[in-house]
Symmetry: C2
Subunit: 462 residues, 2 copies
């Protein structure tokens, strides 16, 4: 397939726009709320159908909860293989009274398609399917090998995805992973994202007396667990925000010049960004830039501190329990197991009676911005959206991207198609129709440009 | 009046027992719930009536809320004057379904009188009235001068008592203040209590961003107010419980040998006391005894720490607010104004953006156990209860006792008549009938013994 044929494909995509939307509507009209176990299996079946009709070999593969839709077209031996990730489950639609149109009835207003799942993620994963279908219909084949991995538990934290991927490494062999999910930061700049911070969730629990006590009658006679946690926390992080748990920073990656250069090129109106959250300056430590804080610096965040009385007015009580919820955002190089061990050891040294519970984790993930395939992904986005993308080396938030980079050893690219006001997880979720079609074009271009690339293709040699 | 006449009075009290109970029932049957403004004024009128019929000059004196019943009998010129404090308001009776008999229907079971207000405080203040009435009926006079100050807002924190006492110093001139309220620690030992710790209530409020933020997308970019308060609190108290606010201990009193000797004589089964609250040892610092912690050591207690998410499972949020409620128990020598100033200055030095709100306070109060009148009070209790009392130099809790010791400059004695399981503030509040009558006898004996004393009587010279 040549770039001439890409033009043909792109023209075909435009012709098929109405049918693509009609098929997307069908997928959206089927609720698939994983948290409430509503319609999930029915929606998986619809994805199986649309992929099978497009010409893919499709399997509905079980997990302990909702099945994974796996589809492959491997008719391009010697050509690269892309593993495209997405999810067919959606968030609950509540609160219902804030929707301007019914959440599961796709409705177009002002060039945007409103519905639960319109952007997160049915619209974005279907853009990739629509591109592949157009290729198969027009050219009778795809220029590369394509695998779809579409899960039904993303909105409940992808509990079975890591196990599935570990168990099916052979099936999932590829040259790169490619995901479209979430909104861009601003609509003027399409993005290519290369990684995410990891996340480690812990809870600290301290106990004092067997029940809350009168602070006069018992003050001085029993330990106060709120004080226990205050003193423990104070040993973990200094007032400048630097984490003081021994070894916490040991394995933090050294960003490459290309990483730093990309970071420096990200458009930013820092004052406007801070103003949006009611601040006028960055907190200590001084000298750390906006994106350095999000991309190269791990955090130790108190997400909740709960002890004693929190209502209006005074209540003079010695609390019997205190609980702190912490999340740590980890940067490449760090691992949840290692940091948890250091955290737990630190607690054991300073407050051995305090209970530490791990409540989940997600590894950091990073694909070098200078990876040879990056150029191809960027070029595809430019073709799809008409403007060159911004490189975002790392997201401050966390996604299970390490299943691709660490478990499968693939470069992984995240290209959000949705508009900045996608309102994912909220009422009036939507995706701009222009951006949906730009996504279809981007995927078609990606297939074409990957076919032209002469990158090594370990995934196609087995 | 001689000790012979005391015997007569005590015999008369016994004869009048049935009538005393009937009158107490009348007072109890009138609900007087100050927090709910139910029946308070009606109950004040009943107290006015019973005191007037007994022979007192009575005035119902207004405050901005519920009136104070003031009564005096000053027919013993040259003799001492006792100012007896009590309150006619009661706690709300809720939860109603836990009462074994209706809360405002006095009911005797197993030698105890059950009703809201039976012990707190109608039964105890009426014991003093009954003793005075018996004297007046049998002897035609009281052996000393007696003033009653019975307020209707004790259960809502006595908001107008300090102002009232300051405004009426001249009216309230006396030689001693005398209060019966609350239960004894154990029924085998009647108590004479000489003071209370004070209390200073503050709230700390810290703000970060204008709203809670995603800890990934914003982690590192905005301050976390929970961390702000953790670091601030860690500067206030070390891990051994010693308060590190400069000057906090400057004015702590030096207990006299008599104080320390009394403290050492208080019966204590420390292991049993700690076991009751699920502990097996005292917290740091080592070397500080059980009663030292309650009586000679001020505290800085976290009564509540509330920030971010406190529900089950993780939620990865940067809280926008954090709030800490603190109560400090102050010992004699310390004052709420001085300690608040030091506290506020400390916050201003370490965390100037943190808001400090004072939410009330109560001065510490102490009458020396070696005060000349102590001997008389102890002797009256021994006469009333049949066993010598235990001296409790100071309560760990707080009462507005300083209005007597500091504002009026009086020695003040607290002699709880109620049994240990009084259940004040709780369903099935009660007072043991034996102890009610022991209270009547104690008051009668107090009048008699004070008359025999040759203490200076500044109160009777104006």
């Amino acid at each position: 397939m040549t770039s001439t044929s890409l033009e043909t494909i792109l023209a075909a995509c435009q012709v098929r726009a109405e049918r693509d939307l009609a098929d997307l509507y069908t997928l959206i009209r089927q609720p698939s709320i994983s948290a409430q176990n509503i319609g999930v299996r029915e929606c998986a079946d619809l994805f199986v159908d649309v992929l099978r009709e497009a010409g893919f070999d499709v399997r509905l593969m079980p997990t302990p909860a909702h099945p994974i839709v796996y589809a492959e077209w491997l008719g391009a031996p010697g050509k690269p293989t892309v593993l495209i990730y997405g999810h067919y489950d959606v968030q609950p639609p509540e609160p219902l009274d804030q929707w301007l149109s019914p959440p599961f009835e796709p409705t177009v207003r002002d060039g945007k398609l409103f519905a639960r799942g319109a952007g997160d993620n049915k619209g974005q994963i279907f853009a990739q399917i629509a591109a592949a279908r157009a290729c198969l219909e027009v050219a009778g084949s795809l220029p590369i090998n394509v695998k779809f991995l579409i899960e039904g538990e993303e909105e409940t934290g992808s509990p079975h995805l890591p196990g599935f991927i570990t168990a099916h490494r052979d099936l999932l062999v590829a040259d790169l992973a490619y995901t479209s999910d979430g909104p861009v930061h601003d609509d003027a700049h399409p993005q290519v994202v290369y990684g995410v911070r990891g996340m480690l969730l812990v809870e600290l629990r301290a106990r004092g007396a067997s029940h809350d006590l009168h602070s006069g009658n018992w003050g001085g006679l029993v330990p106060n667990p709120a004080w226990t946690l205050v003193h423990l926390l104070a040993t973990m992080r200094d007032a400048d925000g630097r984490v003081t748990i021994p070894g916490f920073y040991d394995d933090v990656f050294a960003p490459t010049p290309a990483f730093l250069a990309a970071m420096a090129r990200i458009p930013l109106d820092q004052q406007a960004a801070l103003k949006m959250v009611g601040r006028d300056r960055l907190p200590p430590p001084a000298g750390l830039g906006y994106f350095e804080r999000l991309m190269t610096t791990p955090t130790l965040n108190i997400a909740g501190f709960t002890s004693g009385y929190g209502g209006p007015g005074p209540k003079t009580v010695i609390p019997s329990t205190a609980m702190v919820k912490i999340d740590m955002r980890l940067v490449p190089g760090q691992s949840t197991d290692d940091i948890f061990e250091k955290f737990r050891d630190h607690v054991a040294r300073h407050a051995p009676d305090v209970e530490v519970l791990q409540q989940g984790g997600m590894e950091p993930s990073y694909t070098p911005v200078e990876h040879p395939l990056s150029r191809i992904v960027r070029r595809a986005v430019e073709t799809g959206f008409g403007v060159p993308p911004v490189d975002v080396p790392l997201l401050g938030g966390s996604l299970p991207d390490a299943v691709f980079t660490q478990t499968l050893g693939l470069p992984s690219f995240l290209v959000p198609y949705a508009n900045a006001d996608e309102r994912n997880h909220a009422p009036n979720e939507n995706i701009s129709l222009d951006r949906f079609f730009a996504g279809v074009r981007t995927a078609a271009a990606l297939f074409a440009y990957l076919a032209e690339s002469d990158q090594p293709r370990p995934g196609t040699t087995t």
